[in-house]
């Protein structure tokens, strides 16, 4: 039984073998939706807003069959987000995101996550946008629910290139100007920065009724590096080198990274920001399912 439960989710290495990002997104979203009792209420914007008359091409799953039974006319159930929610995905493309000790690097994992999120938002007809940033804003796709937006977003995610280093302050200053519309902002990053700085930088995004979600992506080797002899580590962003020993990595480092995660989590929650941690060796659909389950419960 345990085996079946494990195999039900998609190994990130399998996703890495799929070249098409839209197929990856579809596979992930379909995967975690199939693992649940399929519900159209499952998404970013779950608050009911209104009914809309069915028109050809609409998803039959969104038809409210109770209303159809009473009125013999098909109506679609519309949620709040479908009308006035903009989902903005912020993808960190700093050099540190290029690290990976498994088949999937952090940046790949982040791209799969971003693709899955925009795909899901597209299914809900949310207006979706994308911002790729590192020490500067590299790419901006304004939120839109127009036809072809999904392909543009996926293309933007696919074409995203790693930059040099992360600097939250500068891109987020620009983002505040870009994100004028109220909505949900998803920030995907490895957050190698002091938690106070991160929260202080991103906190303004939720002041105007925005909802902010932090997806924290880390590689297993970043959580517990395996060393049997002294090693020389080079920072992928700054090129600084440092020699360290196995005893430090096995002790102090682990405590520090765990404390960092916990600190970020607590500070984010204290600031009313959603925080979700993901390891790159964890199946993405499993992680998304867990997150949305928690989110629905919270709502």
């Amino acid at each position: 039984m345990q085996l079946e439960a494990t195999n039900r989710f998609l190994d990130p290495a399998v996703l890495a073998g799929i070249s098409s990002l839209d197929l990856v997104a579809k596979t992930v979203v379909d995967g975690f939706l199939a693992g649940l009792h399929r519900s159209p209420d499952f998404g970013f914007s779950q608050e009911f807003a209104e009914y809309r008359a069915y028109s050809p091409g609409d998803d039959l799953r969104q038809v409210d069959w109770n209303v159809f039974a009473r009125t013999e006319r098909p109506y679609l159930k519309r949620y709040r987000g479908e009308t006035n929610t903009a989902v903005m995905v912020l993808l960190d493309a700093s050099a540190s995101m290029g690290f990976g000790s498994t088949a999937v690097k952090k940046f790949d994992y982040a791209r799969y996550l971003a693709a899955a999120l925009v795909y899901m938002a597209h299914l809900q007809r949310d207006s979706t946008g994308l911002i790729v940033f590192h020490d500067d804003v590299a790419k901006v796709l304004q939120p839109s629910a127009r036809q072809g937006q999904l392909m543009r977003l996926l293309h933007g995610i696919n074409e995203a290139q790693l930059g040099k280093r992360t600097d939250f302050k500068r891109p987020f200053f620009d983002l505040q100007r870009i994100l004028k519309r109220r909505g949900i902002t998803v920030l995907i990053s490895d957050f190698f920065e002091a938690p106070e700085t991160i929260v202080k930088t991103v906190e303004p995004l939720r002041f105007r009724g925005n909802e902010l979600i932090l997806f924290h992506i880390l590689d297993p080797a970043e959580l517990a590096p395996k060393l049997s002899s002294p090693a020389l580590f080079v920072d992928m962003e700054t090129d600084d080198a440092i020699e360290t020993s196995p005893d430090y990595v096995g002790g102090d480092y682990r405590h520090k990274i765990e404390a960092h995660i916990e600190d970020l989590r607590s500070k984010a929650e204290a600031a009313g920001i959603d925080y979700f941690f993901l390891r790159t060796d964890r199946p993405l659909d499993e992680g998304l399912r867990e997150y949305f389950t928690i989110r629905r419960g919270r709502l």
């Binding site: 690290f99 020389l232 992928m236 600084d240 360290t244």
Partner: protein, 662 residues
């Protein structure tokens, strides 16, 4: 302790290499990219300490290895003081008994001087008497009894061999090296110049040997001698007998001497010959009568001088009818016998008559009446005929087997059994050793073209005398029992070569004929010391016999049945009966270099004497303390080896660990 090559100690500086590698050098590791170093702290000290602890033993081994290696090259030594027991002293009285000591009263003088040396010995002195000619013979063991020494000296008689000072010194050097003894050598000799070795280094005495020389001859002793006689040992036609002799004089005035030719002690002819001062003269005797049988010839120079033994030159001569050679040919192929017979008869006085016969008649002919048998391309022989020829050869006979086309098809050499590899293409003969007894004087086979030859793979023990241009054997010699066989890998007719048409065919036929007939084994005279073969096969049980110049049997009973050779050591005639029943009369004469009595210059004798250690002759003293350096480099090299092995083992273990962690 010291060092023989201290400069090599500078190599110890190489110890710095492992020190640098292990401790000082920045440990170069392949940088590993990491996402962020914000949670890392520099822990360099910890890692270096880790390396130090881990490789300390390896570092120590490497430093030890290099230091020991430099030490080994510096060649350390320690001075060892050893107390050695004094070498005991042995007085050696050596007397020259070579042929030249027969001159006048040289031997009496030598004995007198030797007795004087012996009388000077004290009762505690140990002495030994040696007799020296071409070899060194100890006449007594080391002896304290002066009477034994004096008796041994008195018993020394002059011999007929040449003396060799080089051989004498070599024997003394061996004794010097192998015995813990000081040698006080007294050498009494006529000090002939001709006895000196080619190089003065061969006269170097050992470090514990003192030499005293006693010349007994004057430097200008005159002497005449019959230096050489040249005649044939076999006479077939008395009208063709010829003898030439050389009469030589050393330090002599011009003189006319009478030279007499004697056979069996009877004067046959005599001539007067005038010998120039300090020179040589030739004398010739022609057509002298030689009766049938073997005879003892002498050429005497009269009147005798102070060395009468070299005034007589002894030689043997034998008168007989020519020996017959049986030429066996295959039916209808007598061409080879024609060429062979013509070649044999074209040379004068060969002493061999060729009798051709078909090979089938081998069983009906008494082969023992023939000097040897020629088989020309016998092919596959009738078994009875083959057996008859084999029996004849193994009992002391001889055969020449020529291989033509029929024999080539057999796959093996008839009678001999050597394997045949096939046929060879047209080619000439390679050059061969002109000193080969079977081909001596035959010349080279220039321009001879062998259109076809049989490729023979010789058995072990078979000697290849001549080869073809491609290296294949052309003429081989093989022993069968007491007999011998020559195998010629081409036919004796013109079917396989043009050899019978060339002038070199005649000397080839004559010389191989003489060789097979045994003429080479019976020269008219040999120098004393020459050995003659008594048998060819070691396992042949037939007894041989040698009767010496004094008429006594020279071989003991066990020697007669086993001895392979016999050395002719005395001047005179030896009657030899070999194991193959052949009888020889051999004349031996002393080496005529002994007739030249010129002596070694006194200054050279002084130099020779000084090569010895005069202190060796001194009386023995108490215990001697000697300080000798003892080299330690062997032991250091053993330590180097041990360090290298240990380093290899530890380094292998560490490398294995590193590979696993990498």
């Amino acid at each position: 302790m010291g060092f023989l090559s201290p400069w090599f100690l500078a190599g110890i500086a190489a110890v710095g290499i492992p020190l640098w590698l292990h401790l000082l050098r920045q440990y170069k590791r392949t940088p590993q990219p990491f996402s962020s170093l914000m949670f890392f702290e520099r822990r360099v000290q910890s890692s270096v300490r880790h390396r130090r602890l881990k490789y300390l033993l390896l570092l120590a081994l490497r430093c030890t290895f290099l230091a020991l290696l430099a030490l080994a090259f510096a060649n350390p030594f320690v001075n060892r003081t050893s107390t050695s027991a004094p070498r005991r002293k042995l007085t050696i009285i050596a007397v020259d008994r070579s042929f030249s000591m027969r001159y006048g009263d040289h031997m009496q003088k030598a004995k007198l001087r030797a007795q004087e040396v012996a009388s000077g010995l004290k009762s505690r002195d140990m002495a030994q008497v040696f007799a020296v000619d071409s070899h060194v013979e100890a006449l007594t063991p080391p002896e304290f009894n002066k009477g034994v020494i004096e008796a041994a000296i008195e018993a020394i008689q002059p011999g007929d061999q040449a003396s060799s000072f080089g051989e004498f010194v070599r024997a003394l050097r061996v004794m010097d090296q192998e015995n813990n003894t000081r040698f006080d050598v007294h050498f009494i000799s006529d000090m002939q110049q001709s006895s000196m070795p080619p190089g003065f280094r061969d006269l170097q005495m050992g470090p514990h040997t003192a030499l005293t020389l006693y010349p007994v001859a004057s430097s200008n002793a005159p002497n005449w001698a019959v230096e050489s006689v040249n005649t044939s040992a076999h006479v077939y036609d008395p009208n063709r007998t010829r003898l030439t002799a050389t009469i030589a004089g050393w330090q002599t005035e011009a003189a006319t001497r009478k030279v007499s030719l004697m056979l069996d002690s009877k004067a046959v002819a005599s001539k007067d010959v005038t010998i120039p001062a300090n020179g040589r003269a030739q004398v010739e005797f022609l057509s002298f009568e030689v009766p049938y049988g073997a005879h003892r010839g002498e050429l005497r120079l009269e009147p005798p001088d102070q060395l009468p033994n070299d005034d007589i030159f002894r030689f043997s001569v034998e008168r007989s009818d020519p020996k017959k050679v049986l030429f066996l040919y295959s039916a209808g192929r007598a061409q080879g016998s024609f060429y062979y017979k013509a070649a044999m008869e074209s040379s004068s006085d060969t002493g061999l008559l060729v009798q051709p016969a078909p090979i089938e008649q081998a069983t009906t002919i008494d082969l023992t009446k023939f000097a040897f048998v020629v088989l020309d391309d016998p092919g596959e022989m009738d078994s009875a005929a083959a057996q008859a020829v084999c029996n004849y050869i193994s009992r002391g006979g001889a055969a020449l087997i020529a291989l033509g086309r029929d024999s080539g098809r057999l796959g093996k050499v008839p009678l001999a059994g050597d394997r045949v590899a096939g046929k060879l293409e047209a080619q000439g003969a390679a050059r061969f050793d002109p000193g080969e007894p079977a081909l001596r004087g035959a010349g080279q086979f220039d321009n001879v073209q062998f259109s076809q030859a049989v490729s023979v793979l010789p058995k072990s023990g078979v000697r290849v005398i001549a080869r073809l241009a491609d290296g294949s054997p052309l003429l081989l010699e093989e022993h069968m029992g007491e007999g011998r066989v020559l195998i010629f890998t081409s036919a004796l007719d013109t079917s396989t070569s043009d050899f019978p048409l060339h002038s070199s065919f005649v000397p080839f036929v004559v010389q191989t004929g003489h060789y097979l007939a045994g003429f080479e084994e019976n020269p008219p005279s040999v120098v004393t010391g020459t050995t003659i073969a008594l048998r060819r096969a070691r396992d042949q049980g037939t007894a041989a016999d040698v009767i010496g110049p004094d008429g006594r049997h020279e071989l003991a009973l066990n020697e007669a049945s086993k001895a392979m050779n016999f050395a002719l050591l005395r001047d005179g005639f030896y009657e030899v009966q070999r194991a193959d029943r052949r009888r020889l009369l051999v004349a031996a004469h002393a080496d005529r270099r002994e007739s030249d009595l010129r002596t070694v210059p006194p200054e050279t004798l002084v130099l020779w004497r000084n090569t010895g250690n005069e202190s060796a002759a001194a009386e023995s003293v108490g215990e001697q303390k000697q300080t000798r350096p003892r080299s330690l480099w062997r032991y250091v090299m053993l330590l180097v080896l041990a360090a290298a092995i240990a380093e290899s083992l530890f380094a292998r273990r560490y490398l294995k660990e590193e590979r696993q962690t990498a």
